[in-house]
């Protein structure tokens, strides 16, 4: 028999030891069944169970429940225990309730009544038990029915401190389940808890107030001055003053941290006296950091640093006092070389925030070398990640070249998990701070060379946009690309950039015999077979452009275009391109070719798409970069950022537009195949891809034909998602469904003979009612005879 001390329950101890001694699961289940039957007969039988017995059986039930069996009785007995006056019985009752009774149970009303009785009782132990139970369950129902009792406990003068503490935390818990809870009249009195004598009460009240402030900052504005004065009292006190609340020689670190966090919800205080007081506090905290540690224990430094970091966060949040910012920065600079990895991590993280402040930006820059060594020598990848973030944040025009260089150098050995992000950051920095665009081109090409796999589409789209828009770098870009391509193994992205740039500006370097047209062509074609279909498509476009640029190598190119490999390629896109380009090159006159294959016109200036990509990847950490971007560039409407280089995003269109509207659009679309067929194969689908690549409304694609123009029009003006799918169908089919929703279906049927076309539209009523006032308006481009039938 296990020994039971004093108040313990012998029966329970015996039962538990029986269960532990069970040899098998079956034996355990048998023992439990027996016990359950016993408890049932006890609960059912004589009503004269005393408190002790009830407590014992409820305990057993609880134990059985915790073993994983269902308990479907005994709830009533547990609730009865609540009204007992003995602490242990009440405690077990509350325990059972918080573990077993679901919030939706019928008994909840009764339980809440019991809790209320306890709350208004004078016995602090009972109140605490009740509060604990509320905090454990924390249901919405409780929040609603106890929303008066608990706050009144909290602010009443005669509740003892420990109860106040519990009340504050319980209220916080209820606030989390029922955020709509209104404090109303209690507001000011709750705020004044910050002035309480007892530090424990202040600590728990600080948590509560912070939650309240997050919800409604205006209403609790009064807490700022109180918090500041409380903070200054703590900070200026010596560690002997606070006795119990001093943790390893640091006075009330948790409370300080909470107060500092609380203050971060508000702008810097306007009242000058409060403001100076706060500044003094922060200065004192910074001063204390300089003092030699009072203890060698890690807890001491942890507590001290926790307060310090929170203070720095507040300083950064206020962003108003240059002196403090610089001091904070210097302090962090010391931590950068600390032997504790966690500290270095935190320092890097906080500095990242500091770097965005105009006052401390310069101060942060002083630590550039340290950060770069951190990037290269840190063991922990998360610390290195922070170092990358910080470098990105501290970068500006003066140090861009160096930072980008270092990052590029590090990229070769960088951890795989941060490579993609680094690539994006390098690309952005290079673009943003490029004074000399040849440098930019170099950086990006290096980037592709070093970490080609991590270079996303956006990055190289962007290079091409920039190269096309800047006349001065075109020649240089062509030369560099040509040289880069000469490497025996180069990344596919490099081939893409190379193909595109040589196709546009190959002529600029054709004078040099080492990069004569035929050499360029052969160089590109040597990579052709190693590439994916999409790249091959791009290279085919390059070849047709070469025909325009260098008529002397036309036969070689035509031979490639006409090769079986291309003409009968299983990939439809490649097949079509090669056939159409071959036809174009053999049929069209030099003039037509020259217009069709003209150089790409400059792109409209817009925000870098890479930035959008980075934002998508890391929504949180790029917040600061976003601020900076707005400083550097003119702010762009969000829609335009999206429409950049992201064909899929473009087609977010007015699906709610009226059917007649859509129809008008679609007829415009329908004319595309007609016109392009009459123009004799304009390579429409081929130009599609280029249009896609460059994104957005690019006037006049490669094809230059009418077909291309209309495609563009469609892309830019937008279609419903379904309609776009349909549109693709119409490229190969002459009839089908144009538009369909719950009410209406519109079909189209078309016939074309030589220069004549006939388009029939069918309206299907999908409802069971008749349409009234059904009108259609059609704008006819060109000579189209329309014939409308509807029923």
């Amino acid at each position: 028999m296990p020994a039971v001390k004093g108040d313990g329950m012998r029966g329970l101890a015996v039962f538990i030891s029986d269960i532990r001694n069970c040899k098998s699961k079956e034996a355990e289940i048998k023992r439990i069944n027996k016990e359950l039957a016993n408890i049932r007969s006890k609960f059912k039988g004589d009503k004269t169970l005393d408190g002790y017995q009830k407590k014992k059986y409820v305990c057993k039930l609880l134990f059985i429940f915790l073993l994983g069996h269902d308990i479907d009785f005994g709830h009533m007995e547990a609730v009865n225990l609540l009204s007992s006056n003995k602490y242990t019985e009440k405690q077990i009752g509350y325990l059972f309730i918080s573990v077993l009774i679901s919030a939706s149970s019928d008994l909840m009303k009764l339980v809440i009544q019991c809790i209320r009785n306890d709350l208004v009782s004078r016995n602090p132990i009972h109140i605490t038990l009740a509060l604990q139970c509320v905090a454990n369950i924390g249901s919405r129902e409780m929040a609603e029915s106890l929303s008066i009792d608990i706050p009144s406990l909290l602010v009443s003068g005669d509740t003892i401190d420990s109860v106040k503490q519990s009340a504050a935390l319980t209220l916080l818990r209820l606030l989390r389940t029922a955020p709509e809870l209104q404090m109303g009249e209690w507001t000011s009195r709750i705020i004044h808890l910050l002035n309480d004598q007892h530090m424990g009460v202040v600590t728990s009240a600080a948590s509560l107030i912070e939650a309240l402030v997050k919800k409604n900052p205006e209403e609790y504005k009064g807490c700022v001055s109180l918090a500041v004065s409380r903070l200054s009292r703590i900070v200026t006190s010596s560690y002997t003053d606070l006795q119990d609340y001093t943790y390893y020689f640091v006075p009330a670190p948790w409370l300080s941290v909470k107060l500092l966090r609380l203050l971060q919800n508000y702008p810097p205080p306007e009242d000058p006296s409060v403001r100076t007081r706060l500044t003094e506090c922060l200065e004192t905290i910074l001063n204390k950091a300089q003092e030699p540690p009072k203890s060698k224990k890690v807890q001491h430094s942890n507590a001290k640093n926790a307060v310090l970091f929170e203070a720095i966060n507040l300083i950064i949040h206020m962003d108003s006092d240059p002196n403090l910012l610089v001091r904070a920065c210097n302090q962090l600079g010391q931590f950068l070389q600390h032997k504790e990895t966690n500290l270095r991590y935190l320092a890097l993280e906080s500095m990242c925030l500091l770097a965005t402040s105009e006052f401390s930006h310069e101060a942060v820059k002083k630590h550039q070398d340290t950060v770069i060594t951190a990037l290269k020598t840190e063991r922990d990848v998360s610390v290195r990640q922070r170092a990358v973030d910080l470098l990105y944040a501290m970068c500006d025009r003066t140090n861009a070249e160096e930072i980008v260089g270092e990052m590029l150098e590090y990229l070769e050995t960088a951890d795989y998990s941060i490579r993609e992000e680094m690539v994006l950051k390098v690309a952005i920095l290079a673009e943003k701070y490029a004074v000399d665009y040849t440098w930019y081109v170099d950086v990006i090409l290096n980037l592709i060379r070093i970490a080609g796999d991590y270079v996303s589409e956006e990055v190289w789209y962007r290079v091409i946009q920039i190269v096309i828009n800047r006349d001065d770098v075109q020649g240089y870009a062509a030369k560099t690309v040509f040289e880069a391509l000469q490497a025996p193994a180069c990344h596919e992205n490099m081939v893409k950039v190379g193909g595109y740039i040589l196709g546009e500006f190959g002529n600029l370097i054709a004078g040099d015999p080492r990069s004569s047209p035929i050499v360029q062509f052969q160089l590109l074609h040597s990579k052709y077979h190693l590439c994916s279909p999409s790249t091959r498509g791009l290279l085919l476009s390059t070849y047709i452009k070469f025909i325009n640029l260098f008529p002397e190598i036309k036969p070689q190119i035509q031979e490639i275009l006409g090769s079986k490999n291309n003409m009968r390629n299983p990939d439809v896109e490649l097949q079509q391109r090669s056939i159409e380009y071959l036809q174009l090159s053999s049929k069209a006159t030099a003039d037509v070719l020259a217009t069709v294959l003209e150089e790409m016109p400059p792109f409209p200036e817009r925000e870098s798409s890479i930035l959008a990509k980075l934002k998508k990847k890391k929504p949180s950490s790029v917040a600061e970069t976003a601020i900076e971007t707005t400083k550097e560039h003119k702010a762009m409407p969000a829609a335009q950022i999206n429409s950049d280089g992201q064909p899929t995003l473009q087609i977010s269109s007015p699906s709610s537009a009226g059917s007649a509207d859509l129809l008008g659009l679609d007829i415009g679309g329908m004319s595309a195949p007609v016109d392009s067929s009459s123009s004799g194969g304009g390579g429409q689908s081929a130009s599609d891809l280029l249009v896609d690549i460059l994104g957005g409304p690019v006037p006049g694609g490669i094809g230059g034909g009418v077909g291309v123009g209309t495609t563009n029009g469609l892309d830019s003006s937008g279609l419903t998602v379904g309609a776009e799918e349909n549109f693709l169908k119409f490229i190969t089919k002459l009839n089908g469904v144009l538009y369909e929703n719950d009410l209406l279906q519109i079909g189209v049927k078309a016939e074309y003979r030589q220069n004549l076309g006939r388009v029939g539209l069918f309206y299907g009523n999908k409802t069971s009612f008749q349409f009234t006032q059904f009108t259609t308006s059609i704008s006819c481009p060109g000579q189209l005879s329309t014939h409308i039938l509807y029923k």
Binding site: K23, S24, K25, K30, R31, N33, K34, L36, A37, N38, R40, S41, F43, K44, G45, D70, D72, F73, H75, S105, D106
Partner: protein, 436 residues
């Protein structure tokens, strides 16, 4: 092709592990423990597939026996083997328990090496195994003896050695049947079948050949055609012939003779063995009928009345009759009254157990119980599990009869008449349930 064989205790600790094929890795042991023994939900299927590996298990008291394979084996073969394995172990060291297995692990590995070869089951006959796997220390056998064992094990009659001599030639034959039944509350038979075994113990000298006759319809009819005499007798005794759905013989039975002449003839192994197994589903005489009457009086009370009727010759006595009446999960108290036997509410099993030591044929017993219920929050209705029964009766419920058992031994000087033969019928309950 069994890949490996593991034996676990109730905690899932491995007691015996023998791997026969390379495709079974070390982690298979753990996989079974984690997914079956320690599974949160009790695993009821005897076959479990984990990562393309099949685990076949049987449980004896607290011990798990699991056969593992990666191939698509005949599951029935594997289970047959596992049962044989259990039988072999029982005959060597009695009850299968953790202690017994731990104490005999060397022996078990030795047996495992003998009865499974590269995963193919070999001779599992205990009598034979005992001739060369002994529990006594290694006694060096003479060359002749080893040669004899080899020739016997590999010979035509692997199950019997030559030169056996008894002073008294005796033969014991037990017909053991277990009746399975599911009956509706109204007394309609929903399903019923009998699984029977014929277990023999033979103590005969020399190499006797036995012929065994039963009242199987098929055998009787074929005989009827050949001899009028037999048919006449069969007709006179009315419906003595029974329809056996399927049967299975010990390896000693000459199947070719069974097929051509419809006679069961064999040279018996020495000692105890199971000659035949069979199954019948038609014309089963059910020894007992249970008539339940359950009345729910409000939410707090329930009345149960159960009548058990015995349905066999009044001269016979049933033994060990036990009726198990399940009670609802929220039972808080039970009062039972019964005229015969003893009835008790067993809380640990959630059932009223009613035991009657002896009960004659064509009798009727009644039990009535009052069950008090406790109100619960659970709205689920009680599912009323069936009332089950256990018993033992001295006849074969399927109607199986032994017609003759003849022994021929030309070389020794005893004839069929000299052999003392004992025949006994025992009918037991399998899953004998009545819904209420």
């Amino acid at each position: 092709m069994i890949g490996g064989l593991f034996i676990y205790n109730h905690k899932g600790e491995v007691l015996i592990s023998r791997v026969y094929r390379d495709d079974i890795g070390r982690n298979a042991v753990d996989a079974f423990r984690v997914n079956v023994i320690h599974a949160r939900q009790q695993v009821r299927s005897p076959v479990t597939n984990i990562a393309r590996t099949s685990f076949f298990h049987v449980k004896r008291s607290n011990i798990w026996l699991a056969a593992v394979t990666k191939q698509n084996v005949n599951a029935a073969m594997v289970f047959e083997f596992l049962f044989k394995m259990v039988e072999v172990m029982q005959s060597y060291f009695g009850k299968i328990s953790e202690d017994n297995i731990k104490n005999n692990f060397v022996l078990i590995y030795e047996i495992l090496d003998e009865i499974l070869d590269f995963g193919y089951p070999q001779n599992t006959d205990t009598g034979i195994l005992k001739t060369f796997i002994t529990q006594q220390g290694v006694k060096s056998q003479s060359k002749e003896e080893t040669a004899q064992i080899t020739s016997q094990v590999t010979g035509q009659i692997g199950w019997r050695r030559e030169g056996i001599k008894y002073r008294r030639n005796e033969l014991f034959l037990d017909v053991l049947e277990s009746v399975n039944l599911l009956m509706s509350p109204q007394g309609q038979v929903l399903s019923a079948h009998v699984a029977g075994r014929i277990v023999m113990k033979s103590y005969l000298s020399g190499m006797p050949e036995c012929k065994f006759g039963i009242n199987d319809k098929l055998l009787m009819e074929s005989k009827g055609k050949s001899s009028l005499d037999d048919a006449g007798r069969g007709g006179a005794t009315g419906k003595t012939a029974i329809a056996i759905d399927d049967c299975q013989f010990h390896q000693c039975v000459k199947l070719s003779k069974f097929e051509t002449e419809h006679s069961i003839s064999f040279i018996p192994p020495d000692g105890e063995y199971e000659l035949m197994k069979y199954r019948t589903t038609k014309d089963i005489s059910l020894p007992f009928r249970v008539i339940p009457l359950v009345r729910e009086v409000g939410r707090q009370k329930m009345e149960v009345k159960v009548v058990v009727k015995s349905n066999f010759k009044p001269s016979l006595l049933a033994q060990k009759v036990e009726v198990r009446i399940p009670t609802p999960l929220n039972t808080s108290g039970v009062q039972v009254i019964c005229m015969k036997g003893k009835a008790k509410y067993k809380a640990s099993e959630n059932a009223i157990v009613w035991k009657i030591k002896r009960m004659g044929g064509m009798k009727e017993c009644q039990l009535s119980a009052e069950i008090e219920l406790l109100n619960t929050n659970d709205k689920k209705k009680w599912t009323r599990p069936p009332i089950s029964m256990n018993f033992e009766v001295p006849f074969a419920p399927s109607g199986f009869k032994v017609r003759y058992l003849k022994v021929f031994e030309p070389k020794m000087n005893y004839s069929d008449h000299d052999v003392i033969k004992w025949v006994r019928y025992i009918g037991r309950s399998g899953l004998y349930e009545t819904r209420c």
